[in-house]
């Protein structure tokens, strides 16, 4: 639920020492990948994420096989005599139908597209904006830094769920607005970390060296400093993706996100609430997919952090156990 809680909850330890200690010829990236490859939890998460991605990509295929489009209503054949949804396994509906006789499996597959789109796109926008603002603030310092840092502080202390609701109530719910709202409330989390890193990086010798070689500010910021900040940004971004997915699902559940008939896991659950718990399949399946996705991304983010900096105690421990075994 809480976007801004993430970075505060997990204060990043600077990665400079890792960089300094990386004397071996192996590049840090390869080192990280190697570590991840031995991490069962990380691999499982990646598999789950890939499965969800595959589901999203294959959505039209699934629709073709079942013959049910994501928004094709079939109240006559896809609901019982009282207009109630059909349970899983009924006549061609593997996961059952919803209140309008639509195929829940097909809608979940298309819902995966929405979730991934929102998660990745919102995070990408947040990352780009956050990196640029954080880098500018941290590198130049002074009054520019003061202003940008204050802006980020204000955004971070915003009651964002409330404000998201305000925006939606004014402009009407839609997918682009949902993405922008999530991006807006996430960029500061990344920006703050990047700013802190940039502040310390700019005192480093290599920056001084670049300066004396006549490199411009832009070049130093984006060519010299930025690569050193990639790691924490990746970790944070991986953790922001599930938060964004949850945020979208929540807004859609409240009727303030993705507008029907476009299926989103959140608005499917909102529809389910209108039907009642006796149609359990209408609740359970979207829930399972949503949970699996957020869980996988959280696990992966944690694993990446662990791989980047093995000395931090990871709460989602899994690999060490394997070693002991």
């Amino acid at each position: 639920m809480s976007l801004s809680a993430i970075d505060v909850a997990s204060p990043e330890s600077p990665l400079e020492e890792r960089a300094a200690g990386g004397i071996e010829a192996r590049s840090p990236l390869r080192l990280v990948l190697a570590r991840l490859r031995t991490d069962r939890v990380a691999i499982a998460s990646v598999v789950v994420i890939l499965l969800i991605v595959a589901l999203a990509i294959a959505a039209p295929l699934i629709a073709g096989i079942t013959g049910h489009g994501p928004t094709d209503t079939n109240v006559d054949g896809g609901t019982d005599a009282n207009g109630q949804p059909l349970p899983p396994g009924s006549a061609g509906y593997l996961l059952g139908t919803d209140n309008l006789g639509r195929d829940i499996l097909v809608r979940i597959a298309y819902g995966a597209r929405i979730s991934l789109l929102v998660g990745v796109l919102a995070t990408a926008i947040a990352a780009v904006v956050g990196v640029v603002i954080g880098l500018v603030a941290g590198y130049f310092g002074g009054w520019l830094d003061s202003i940008l840092a204050r802006v980020m502080d204000v955004v971070l202390s915003f009651p964002y769920v409330l404000f998201a609701i305000v925006l939606v109530s004014v402009f009407g719910p839609s997918l682009p607005l949902t993405i922008l709202v999530i991006a807006f409330f996430s960029f500061a989390a990344i920006g703050r970390i990047v700013r802190g890193q940039a502040l310390s990086q700019r005192e480093k010798e290599y920056v001084e060296a670049a300066h004396s070689l006549g490199a411009g500010n832009l070049r130093i910021m984006f060519v010299d400093i930025l690569p050193n900040l990639v790691a924490p940004v990746i970790v944070l971004a991986t953790l922001l993706i599930p938060a964004a997915i949850i945020f979208e699902a929540t807004l859609s559940f409240l009727g303030l996100g993705v507008v029907p008939p476009t299926p989103s896991w959140g608005n499917m659950l909102s529809d389910a609430e209108g039907v009642g718990f006796q149609a359990w399949w209408f609740y359970i399946f979207p829930m399972l997919f949503l949970l699996a996705t957020t869980l996988a991304f959280n696990l992966l983010g944690d694993a990446i952090r662990d791989a980047l900096d093995p000395r931090t105690e990871r709460i989602f421990a899994g690999r060490r156990k394997k070693k002991n075994a």
Partner: protein, 640 residues
């Protein structure tokens, strides 16, 4: 589809027309509000088969006995007890008789607000639809030209003021004048009186344009001035009220029986209407003693009321306790559980939930379940913005609209509203039970399930082989999003793309599909929308409480001809129907107008609906009254 016989009328009552304004405003606004509020979906199955349950001429047949099905009339009335009513959503206008516009408001007003005429509580539909004297001693004396209606109040009518004070004819005049108060956010109610009572229009227009935030003193001055300036209402003495009409109106009795024409004591002029804390006075058997806004309304016996002064209502229970703060989509389920358990007696703003109906009807119908008719109801329906410039003005082309008539799967819409035993597909403007109903279907599709192929080929013939793209404004609550999605999917099957915009339910009519200028529809903000419509009264004289809703473009602004349809043929048929002298002639003309509208495909009717209600086991004498679509709470007594 079963064959329905025409509503048979043996009476040869003299009938004349009234201006069409009467129905227009009220009906649509009521539909928007009332239908929105009762949108909890309902379902039923296995109801009595072999009869046409939707045909009002069958309603009174003993083998169906709709209205007495769950009356529980056995035993002699027991005095005392607390009637527990439970549900969700507060009244929209603080229980003010001139402000309430939803049927749930009418339900409660039955206990504390009286009209000159009213509808009796009866399990005989014909009787239930016919007005009888209430506060008036007898039916009005009508002049031979049909223009003057004279009422004399019955004796013994008292307000529960301290000390109790007689109800006067001036109180009734004041009540009618209050309808135009803009602070009450008037719906269609003023239209009834504007269109019938001489001199009322000028008063009302000026009043309605006053800023709603005016002080009580300014409001009182306006109303007091109206007491003398409106030529069509005279109160020669405190027991007599005489109305002069602009032209004859056979349904003026119905208009006077509407809750909007309830008496209003002079104390109401001191208040800013709808302000919580305003005292509501009662001339009925109960008075509101506690009004905890958003949570609870408690009514207790009104000591100033006597049974001798009231031939309609009773005062059996001591207290009526309405708990209305349940929230969320599970509210209907919770109420149903409480009714079954006996911890609540009646529903408030909820219907029996779909999941429960089957169990209540099989193996045999639970006597606590009642399924009741709403004759003449068409809810929801789809209306075209015929003035929309989108798609090159395609919706102005009758051929396009005719093609789209074939697109809708009406059985699917039925199911959204609870299935075949509660709803029946409708293919015309006038539904069974309303004046001028003769069944016909210009756009038949197999089993009423839609014919995308036919729609497509007709669209092609109309010059739109690639379909059109339509903008749909739909309400964001209840069944409305589901209806929108069904419409969208149905249209998609015939190559028409529908883009939806959800509209907050409370602003659907005004800021949503409504326009503020006569040319507002030409902006093309929306092309199609799905409002609903429940007539304000039922029975053989409700002709213009039905059809004029959608057809009169000239008079509709800012009314409810949402789509701007305006056809001279229909207008002239309506005028003739209104001025015809016999019911049968009027009915024939209404039917012709109906046919013309359908030929022009001005809208797509979906269905006509029944209402499922449940009561606790201890509730006796539960009588359904059509105009509030609910039980009459002043008839109920509770077994110990």
């Amino acid at each position: 589809m079963s064959v329905r016989s025409m509503l048979v009328r043996s009476t040869e009552r003299k009938t004349c027309g009234v201006t069409r304004w009467t129905g227009i405003l009220a009906i649509a606004a009521l539909a928007v509000v009332a239908c929105g509020s009762t949108s909890t979906s309902t379902t039923s199955s296995g109801a009595a088969q072999g009869n046409d349950l939707f045909n009002p001429s069958d309603f009174n047949a003993s083998h169906i006995s709709w209205l007495s099905a769950n009356q529980n009339a056995s035993g002699s009335p027991v005095m005392g007890g607390t009637l527990q009513i439970e549900g969700s959503t507060d009244l929209s206008a603080a229980a003010d008789p001139q402000g309430e516009y939803e049927t749930i408001g009418f339900t409660l007003e039955r206990a504390y607000a009286r009209q000159l005429l009213s509808y009796p509580a009866s399990t005989d539909l014909t009787k239930a639809e016919s007005v009888v004297p209430d506060a008036a001693a007898t039916m009005p004396t009508i002049s031979s030209d049909g223009l003057t209606y004279s009422f004399t109040l019955r004796s013994g009518l008292m307000w529960n003021t301290a000390p109790p004070r007689p109800v006067t004819s001036q109180d009734f005049e004041r009540g009618i004048l209050r309808n135009c108060d803009p602070t009450l956010a008037p719906n269609g109610n003023p239209g009834y009186y504007v269109s019938t009572i001489a001199g009322f229009k000028a008063f009302c227009t000026a009043f309605e344009n006053q800023s709603p935030s005016e002080r009580p003193a300014a409001r009182a001055a306006t109303i007091n001035a109206g007491m003398t300036s409106v030529s069509g209402i005279k109160t020669p003495d405190s027991n007599t009220i005489v109305f002069t009409l602009t032209q004859p109106a056979t349904d003026f009795d119905n208009i006077i029986a509407l809750p909007f024409a309830s008496a209003a004591p002079i104390e109401y002029l001191k208040y800013t209407p709808l302000t919580p804390g305003n005292v509501l006075y009662s001339d009925g058997p109960y008075a509101i003693t506690t009004y905890n806004v958003g949570h609870e309304i408690i009514l207790t016996r009104n000591a100033a009321w006597t049974q001798a002064s009231d031939s309609i209502r009773h005062q059996y229970v001591d207290t009526i306790d309405v708990k209305l703060d349940l929230a969320g989509s599970a509210a209907a389920t919770e109420v149903q559980q409480d009714l079954a358990a006996g911890t609540a007696d009646l529903e408030w703003n909820t219907n029996v939930p779909p999941a429960d109906i089957h169990g209540l009807e099989s193996p045999s119908r639970n006597p606590q379940l009642g399924v009741f008719p709403a004759p003449g109801t068409t809810n929801p329906y789809l209306v075209f913005n015929v003035q929309s410039p989108n798609n090159g003005g395609a919706l102005g082309n009758v051929k396009v609209r005719q093609a789209l008539e074939y697109a809708i799967d009406k059985v699917a819409i039925n199911k959204i509203y609870g299935g075949a035993s509660l709803n029946e597909p409708l293919n015309q403007v006038i539904a069974a039970g309303a004046e001028g109903y003769v069944p016909f279907n210009d756009y038949p599709t197999p089993n009423n399930q839609g014919d995308p192929g036919k729609c497509k080929s007709l669209l092609k013939a109309a010059g739109y082989p690639n379909g059109v793209t339509l903008k749909d404004y739909y309400r964001n609550s209840g069944n409305h999003p589901a209806v929108f999605q069904e419409v969208q999917a149905d249209f998609a099957r015939c190559g028409v793309t529908v883009v939806g915009t959800p509209i907050a339910t409370g602003y659907y009519g005004s800021s949503g599909i409504g326009v503020t200028s006569p040319n507002g529809l030409k902006t093309g903000n929306w092309d199609v929308t799905e409002p609903g419509w429940v007539p304000d009264w039922f029975g053989p004289t409700n002709g213009r409480a039905t059809l004029p809703d959608i057809l009169d473009g000239a008079l509709s602004f800012p009314g409810s001809d949402w789509g701007g349809y305006d056809d001279p043929t229909v207008d002239s048929l309506v005028t003739q129907a209104e001025s015809s002298m016999t019911l049968s002639a009027a009915a024939a003309l209404w039917h012709q107008a109906d046919e013309q509208v359908m030929k022009d495909a001005a809208f797509i009717p979906f269905e006509t609906t029944l209402t499922p209600l449940f009561r606790s086991a201890r509730v006796h004498n539960a009588i359904f009254i059509p105009f509030s679509e609910y039980y009459d709470i002043t008839q109920v007594w509770l077994s110990k």
